[in-house]
């Protein structure tokens, strides 16, 4: 008897969840409900079942805390987490991301003029993509100290190569016809670069920016495992995990996840504004 009732309630909820998600998924793909409603409802149901299962089976908090516990730790530790956010996201990740991408882009534009340098650097850059560059973190911590500068340096190194490779590919994307047209206008190298080739390269550049935004968060957090001041999301995660304070650990992960998603979302939004002419954006509407 004591098992039958919760089981029945659980099954009924499951049926309700499946039916409601299916109902929403049938909406028009381009409507707001269809695009955002379905995944949101799916996520909400996952949270509901997570909470119910953890409560019902009395899963130890160390193993998997319930969403309500994580939420409570998030509210309770909001001051600490805000400090960690500033340290990891605003300092290490963002500054590193901006510096690394700028460096990669400028290098790409510069060596684009020399086929010799391109042929020399591209194989090395593609080698770098197979190498776990994150391993450079302990060395950067030794060189630049425990504060955010060393983390930003790791991020610079990790983001440089994807940006370089994509910039070069993008600059090679403009066709002969367009380039000949610019020539017949008597356009200078720089005019051609800014009016034709960089705009054409933008989809590639944004692709690299999106890849790099994820890499930057990973680099900034993992580098903190090798030593950091007493703030930072990676520091929080590793120390609180060692103290088995899992509520705060998951809250820190939630903050990192939200920061990563927001960064990605903002880049996607800017991309749609900046490359509105590109077929992949136009057809997506």
């Amino acid at each position: 008897m004591s098992v039958a009732l919760p089981l029945a309630v659980g099954l009924a909820l499951l049926a309700l969840a499946i039916l409601s998600v299916r109902w929403l998924a049938a909406f028009d793909e381009h409507s707001v409900v269809g695009r955002f409603g379905t995944p949101l409802l799916f996520g909400a149901w996952v949270l509901v079942f997570w909470q119910l299962l953890v409560d019902f089976f009395e899963v130890p908090r160390v193993l998997l805390p319930a969403p309500s516990v994580i939420w409570a730790s998030l509210l309770g530790g909001i001051g600490v987490l805000a400090g960690d956010f500033t340290q990891t996201v605003l300092h290490s990740a963002l500054i590193g991301l901006i510096a690394g991408c700028t460096l990669g882009f400028v290098t790409g534009v510069l060596i684009d003029r020399s086929p010799f340098l391109q042929r020399g650097l591209l194989p090395l850059a593609s080698l770098a993509s197979a190498v776990p560059l994150i391993g450079i973190a302990p060395i950067m911590v030794m060189w630049f100290g425990f504060d955010w500068e060393s983390k930003a340096a790791v991020v610079v190194i990790m983001t440089f190569f994807p940006m370089l490779v994509n910039t070069l590919a993008g600059l090679a994307e403009s066709g002969h016809m367009e380039r000949d047209l610019m020539r017949s206008y008597g356009a200078s190298y720089w005019r051609t670069l800014f009016s034709l080739r960089i705009p054409v390269a933008l989809p590639f550049v944004f692709n690299a920016l999106k890849i790099n935004s994820t890499l930057a968060m990973i680099g900034a957090i993992v580098a903190e495992f090798f030593g950091s001041p007493v703030a930072g999301l990676g520091f929080r995660i590793s120390t609180e995990a060692a103290r088995l304070n899992m509520g705060l650990v998951w809250a820190a992960i939630l903050v990192a996840a939200l920061a990563g998603s927001v960064l990605y979302g903002v880049l996607g939004w800017v991309e749609r504004r900046a490359t509105f002419w590109h077929p992949s954006i136009r057809s997506g509407a």
């Binding site: 998924a25 160390v62 776990p132 994150i134 391993g135 994820t214 996840a257």
Partner: protein, 295 residues
């Protein structure tokens, strides 16, 4: 030096790489001398009056714990550890590479299977696609490696230690590129091909195995190369918080604890080699398995 601009000439293919590599090495040596000079002067040379540039260069390139070790020091350390110790000794980097690569490969296999299952499910069910696909994408904007310590702690508290927790992290990193590429690949057959299968009265299962799966291979392999490289990073990072005794990540961590820079660099060189071997193996499998080879 017969430098021609002929695209096929050997010089034009390997020359630039060689020149750029040589320049990188030269900069490295210069940087090693520059970065180590302060310490050498402070510790050794200041007590010997009348030292010259020759002494400085010699000492900066042979320090015990340099700020930046010279390339030949790293190569020597790598060589020593591989050939100077038995294969099962923790001083041998091949031993650590084997530990890390077994975690990577297990995670890679699990991740590929998970990615394949997700892709097949998504291709066959519109409801699941609409509700799950955005979350699969969102799962990757999460700095996945941040959960590495907890995964290890959680699985450790259930009694799972060693290889498996690390492979879980590799799996999480591997599954995404595979899932996305397979969804694209399984959908790549056009109307013409699908209609041809229809005229053959092929069943859904036949269409899947004879048309969709082969058509997805060109999409699958590039993502497998990305996946195995990501899986290696996952395994290395998975070795950081565990206090693991073995593996390239543990080697990096002990090197950084004891300030043993040469050890860090040689572990880094070993993981770079391992990364190249693993992606090379996938590229080789691609060449064998896709008829006509990749472009």
């Amino acid at each position: 030096m017969a430098a021609t601009t002929d695209d096929k000439s050997l010089w034009w293919r390997v020359g630039p790489v060689l020149v750029v590599s040589a320049v990188v090495l030269a900069i490295w040596y210069a940087a090693a001398i520059g970065l180590n000079a302060a310490q050498v002067i402070e510790r050794t040379l200041s007590s010997q009056p009348g030292w010259g540039a020759r002494d400085l260069i010699k000492l900066t390139l042979s320090m015990d714990r340099p700020v930046l070790p010279a390339p030949h020091q790293i190569a020597l350390d790598l060589f020593d550890s591989i050939f100077g110790w038995p294969l099962d000794s923790p001083r041998n980097l091949l031993f650590h590479a084997a530990v890390t690569s077994s975690a990577t490969l297990l995670g890679f296999v699990m991740g590929t299977l998970l990615g394949a299952v997700l892709a097949v499910v998504i291709v066959h069910s519109r409801t699941l696609e609409r509700s799950m696909f955005p979350w699969i994408i969102a799962s990757q904007t999460v700095p996945v490696l941040a959960i590495a310590p907890i995964v290890i702690v959680i699985l450790g508290s259930v009694g799972l230690t060693g290889l498996f927790p690390k492979s879980i992290i590799s799996m999480y990193l591997c599954f995404f590129p595979v899932a996305v590429a397979l969804v694209k690949g399984l959908r790549s057959p056009g109307v013409m091909e699908l209609e041809l299968m229809h005229t053959y009265a092929a069943s859904k299962r036949h269409t899947f195995w004879k048309l969709r799966v082969p058509a997805s291979l060109p999409f699958l392999f590039p993502s497998l190369r990305v996946g195995i490289a990501a899986g290696l990073v996952g395994a290395i990072v998975g070795e950081l918080p565990t206090g693991a005794q073995a593996g390239l990540g543990a080697r990096l961590l002990t090197g950084s604890y004891y300030g043993n820079t040469v050890q860090i660099w040689s572990a880094l060189a070993m993981s770079a080699l391992l990364g190249l071997v693993l992606t090379g193996a996938v590229a080789f499998a691609e060449r064998v398995l896709t008829p006509g080879g990749r472009k």
